[in-house]
Amino acid sequence: MWNIWRSELRMTVRQRSYYSFFGLWVAVLSLLFLLQSSAPSLTGYTNTTGTVVNVALYIIPLFMLIIGSFSIANEMENGQWRLLNTYPLFTLSYIVGKIGGQFTAQAIVFTFSYGISLAIGLVSGSVFSSEWLLSIYFFSITLIFFFLILGITVGCIVSTRWQALSISVSIWFFLIMIWPTALIGILGLLPYPWIAPLMKFALFANPAEIIRVSFVMSLDGGAVFGQAYDSLVTFLDSPFGIIIYILYVIGFLTLTLLFSMLMLEWRKRR
């Protein structure tokens, strides 16, 4: 597992496209910081924070899905995976190594760009609140983590990079862009009492939503979700909330890893 982890990390950081990500994050983050610095206030959830979060939600999941799925689809395409199969390698350690390596690489480039953008912002005379910066940072890192895993899972299903791309984009489009529209459409057909439990279920079914909701809550905005979620928000805000988050991460990992493993095992046998 550690070998896969290390080789994945080494391979990723040596790719030329990796440096283009550095350029992309610096450009995006610097612009967002510039936007924030022109806003009148620094703390709390404001319209600027909303915009920053939305840009992050648009761009990070898309790229992470594509990177994750490509990292496996690439090895499928060029035959490296078959080569690896000749070694006595446990599938799970392959997947975990892939996730670990990719996550480390992406977290490195994101953190580096974040630091650089922050420095650029500070040089240009902007002021920030460190609490706000850290919330946005951890929000982004969590997004990177969850959507890389989803991407890797997609990679385990597909056999070519074209498939990987199309499936990644459609997952992104469904989970990010069309999610409320789809839910409103579907829930409109169902009896009214079903809406509340299904909405709560949907909240946990979409990692982007749960990350966004907990981010809003971390900036003291839990009340905007209204009476219907008062108990949920209070519960997640309490010390027990952390247990729910841990359970959620464990559950998410178990499901995705199990699924990817089964897919790869099935492919091995073919």
């Binding site: 290390r6 009148p40 319209n47 420095a119 862009m177 529209t181 939503e209 966004r212 003291d220």
Partner: protein, 424 residues
């Protein structure tokens, strides 16, 4: 003989007893003995008793004076006219529903430097007029009102610090009162006016309450230069709630970081002028309210600036909106581009409150842009201002720690990067 002696002894004892008990209740007896207009100085110490004052005297604590009682009666009862109470700490430790620290009726009383600790009511004014309460503090346990007015007029409340009560200052059927420079926090409602007219709320600070201030069925209230902030911890929280009230003048206030800055429900003919409405989730929300006016306000950093449902006849003009696109062709300080606020999200969540979870979800913004609400539902500012009407000062935080943060991020990731690149 022995029995006679014993009786004599008992008699002597009984003569002594009242003297002893009189010594313990000196406060009330001192008050009873004092002539009208006298000043009674209370020596430092704790007094476990209730006091009734029904003539014009001044009661002043020297040093730390604590009056304490857990009984059904108020610790201090003030009646008649012209009573002055100064520098006293009052504690009511009873937990019955009507328990009150200070009960006031009559007129022209002055309460100054009073420190109240209560489990229910702090000060109750019942048919009390022209009373002044100032420079005092009330701390409760969120189960009774700090100051409670019933049919009391022309009273003044100044520089009070009220924490952890039900309603900070509650007025019912009480007119022409002035509330100035009070600080109310961590309570249910900061100031709460019911059926009370012609009151003035000026330069108060109401923060971290469920609702900063509610005006209900009250007329001609003046709300000026107050600060309503961080009233955002409840799903029904708002800075100022104007409900069924009319002719309210809301000027020069700051509404910062509330769930809803100003909520106007079924209210008519109110005027919002030159307020700063900043960093709220929703700046101004109208519900079934018409004929209100909002001018010269500055809307900055609100997630939603303004929203209106069934409220199309409000005049919302000449405000500054940071979210508006602004072009001033003829140089009159007004933008030629009309600013509209779409209540799409509100209408969506009014039908199914569960959809509030989509607040600011990326997909909902997309949806909102695609499905525009009909023109008659929009809130329109036909002449948005080009410049803010109020100064918005920007908070500063030390850039040193931010530089460190930036350096740590760069160094940590860079060293990991070098490590990752290295061949074994």
């Amino acid at each position: 003989m022995k029995i006679m002696h014993y009786i004599m002894f008992l008699l002597l004892l009984s003569f002594c007893m009242p003297a002893v008990s009189e010594a313990a209740s000196t406060l009330q007896s001192k008050i009873d003995e004092a002539p009208k207009g006298a000043t009674i100085e209370i020596e430092e110490g704790e007094y476990e008793e209730t006091v009734v004052i029904s003539k014009p005297v001044t009661l002043e604590g020297t040093g730390k004076v604590l009056l304490r009682s857990c009984g059904a009666d108020p610790v201090v009862t003030i009646r008649d006219k012209g009573v002055t109470l100064k520098n006293i700490k009052v504690e009511h430790c009873g937990d019955e529903k009507e328990d009150t620290a200070i009960y006031v009726t009559g007129s022209n009383h002055i309460l100054e430097d009073i420190n109240i600790e209560t489990k229910r009511f702090g000060i109750r004014l019942d048919n009390a007029n022209d009373v002044a309460i100032q420079d005092s503090e009330i701390v409760g346990i969120n189960r009774g009102n700090g100051i409670d007015l019933w049919k009391s007029n022309r009273n003044k409340f100044e520089n009070l610090n009220i924490t952890n009560v039900s309603d900070g200052i509650y007025l019912e059927q009480s007119n022409e009162n002035t509330l100035r420079e009070n600080n109310i926090q961590k309570s249910r409602y900061g100031m709460h006016l019911m059926f009370s007219n012609d009151n003035i709320l000026d330069e108060n600070v109401s923060r971290a309450n469920t609702t900063g201030t509610e005006l209900m069925e009250s007329k001609r209230t003046v709300v000026s230069n107050n600060k309503f902030s961080s009233n955002n911890n409840s799903v029904n929280a708002q800075g100022l709630l104007i409900y069924l009230a009319s002719d309210t003048e809301v000027t020069g206030n700051e509404f910062i970081s509330n769930r809803v800055g100003i909520f106007i429900e079924e209210a008519e003919n109110n005027r919002l002028d030159s307020n700063k409405i900043m960093d709220n989730f929703t700046g101004v929300q109208f519900l079934k309210s018409n004929g209100n006016k909002a001018v010269n306000n500055t809307f900055v950093g609100n997630v939603n600036d303004a929203q209106a449902i069934e409220s199309s006849n409000n005049q919302v003009d000449r405000n500054y909106w940071d979210a508006a696109s602004k072009v001033d062709v003829n140089g009159n300080g007004e933008s030629e581009i009309v600013f509209t606020a779409d209540p799409y999200f509100l209408t969506l969540t009014a039908d199914v409150p569960e959809y509030q979870l989509f607040f600011q979800a990326p997909g909902i913004i997309l949806l909102q842009n695609m499905l525009k609400s009909p023109a008659e539902q929009l809130l329109i500012d036909s002449a948005p201002l080009m410049d803010m009407t109020m100064e918005v000062e920007k908070e500063q935080s030390s850039s040193f720690s931010l530089w460190i943060m930036s350096a740590v991020m760069i160094l940590a990731s860079f060293s990991l990067f070098i490590l990752g690149r290295k061949r074994r």
